[in-house]
Every structure is written in C-alpha cells, then in structure tokens.
Symmetry: C2
Subunit: 135 residues, 2 copies
Amino acid sequence: MLSKKTKYGLKALAYIARQECDTPVPIGAIAESENISHKFLESILLTLRKSGFLGSKKGKGGGVYLIKEPKDIRMVDVIRVLEGPIALVPCVSLNFYEKCDDCPDEKTCTISRLMIQVRDSTLTVLRKNTLADLM
Amino acid sequence: MLSKKTKYGLKALAYIARQECDTPVPIGAIAESENISHKFLESILLTLRKSGFLGSKKGKGGGVYLIKEPKDIRMVDVIRVLEGPIALVPCVSLNFYEKCDDCPDEKTCTISRLMIQVRDSTLTVLRKNTLADLM
DNA sequence: TTAAATCCTAGTAATCCTATAGGGTTATTA
DNA sequence: TAATAACCCTATAGGATTACTAGGATTTAA
C-alpha cells in the first residue's frame, strides 16, 4: 500500500500541473482543494523541491511550480523519492538493494524470481506513465 | 514491501512442496531450514491451514502438508490471505475495497487510473505464477 | 512595514510489525 | 503409557513507521 505521503504528493503534483497560469501555486490552495493538512503537505512538497521536481517562490504571491514539463515527470521517479523502493523485497530492488537476513543465498532463493517479475511489471507501468497522464 | 509474514509463508509453502514424500512435514523442520522463528511460523501456517492451503496432522510423525497440487496454488491467493490487498490504494482494491477519506469522488480521482494499471499488471503476474513455479 | 508565503527542525501520538514467551490442550505413534 | 507435535490462546515488548503538529525563521510583494 502507498503511504499517504506519496498519495498526497502525487495529487499535489497533478493539481499544480492542472493550473495553466505561470504564477506559483500556494501550498495552502493545494491543501484546501485536495483535503490535505497544510503542514503535512508543506513537508511533502519540500521533499519534492529538494529532489528537483518543484521550484518555489517565497513571500507574498509565492508558491510552488513545476520545473519540468508534466510529460517529462515519470511516475516511477516521483514514487521512488516519496515511497522508496518499487520492489516487494529489498533483495531485488534496483535502487534500494539490501540483503535479506534470512536468505543464505539469493541465487537459490525460492521467491526472488517471482518478486523480480512483479517488480518489472510494475516498473513498466510506472515508467510509461508521466504526470501528463494524471491530468 | 511484503511483510515478513508473507515472505515466510511463501518460503514455507515452497519448502513443503519440495518434499516429495507423502508424510507431513513438521513445522520445526521448516523453521530450521528456512531460518524462521518456530512460533512465528506456527502462526503463519495456522492461517494458511484455515484458508484451505494446508492440512495438518497432530502428534508424532505429524506436521503440515499441501491440500492441493502446487500447480493449483496461485500466488495471488496466498498473498491475499497473508498480506491483504494487492492494490496500492484501498479504493481500487478488488477484494479489500475501502473508500479513501480524502477523495470526494473516485471517478475524478487523478491517481486512480494509474493505480488500476499497477494493480492489473501485478495481478497478471501473481495469477500466472503458482507454487509449482517456485520449486 | 505588514501580510503572505515558504523554509526548516523537532517532536509526538498512534499504530503496525515482528516477533518472544508461556502454557495448556489434543491427537498420534511407538 | 510416554514422547512428540500440532493447536490455540494470551500477553508483551521493542522498534519502526506513519501522519501529522508546533513554532519560529526567512523571504518577498505591495
């Protein structure tokens, strides 16, 4: 299951992308429209800004805005930043690999082949979809 | 990420399936071979028995055994019992549907189309794979 | 100068996860 | 009858994660 953090982040990005004007979108406006706690959303968008998805402008008339075109923002990259690994077990994760402590040998692990199949099918979907597809 | 419970359950099922003989497999033997706490595994296998995947035999020479052929045990069914929903958000889950409290209208929810795609691609893999594929 | 905004660090309550421990019950085999 | 092994319940406990909350610092436009 996705965390609320990721879910809210995706919804916020979609909201920002839908605003046609070039002026920054205040976080408060997003929070209100999407039913998200303002402070919580603030921290989520901070992460997205630090990861290079968003820019921001302080002060009156400020807010956040997309740095790239919606069609160039892949879902897989957003989800990796907010949620972490795509894979269901750490030992088959491409970006967050970790050894399983109960597994003596990954090559003979009974479940790894299945887990790789699930990972790859999910990756295919998340790589194909961009923010433009959410609008 | 899969919980340890699910992971251990899958590994245990694979272990049982690999035993060729018709005699029941003691839980202790599985626990030892797969590096799983005996008591924890006991509770996991109890769940699998109550869900109709396993039979058991008490007393000396007892243990657990598969009720169906490995090729007839689909991964999707095991995972639903041990882990719960396959979907990443409750509002697109087929078997564990729940309304999202932040979403006023599911039909216009920006992320549901993406979530359905991920769900379906995962389902395809998990329906195709059976316990026989883990052996 | 004031109001509106983001920036940033901490903290926190609640829940879930992953067991661990114990102990009694029941069934089966040798 | 003794040993074995699953069954079944309760309780607990540390750690991690989640979903926020608080409060102040900083920046900017009008």
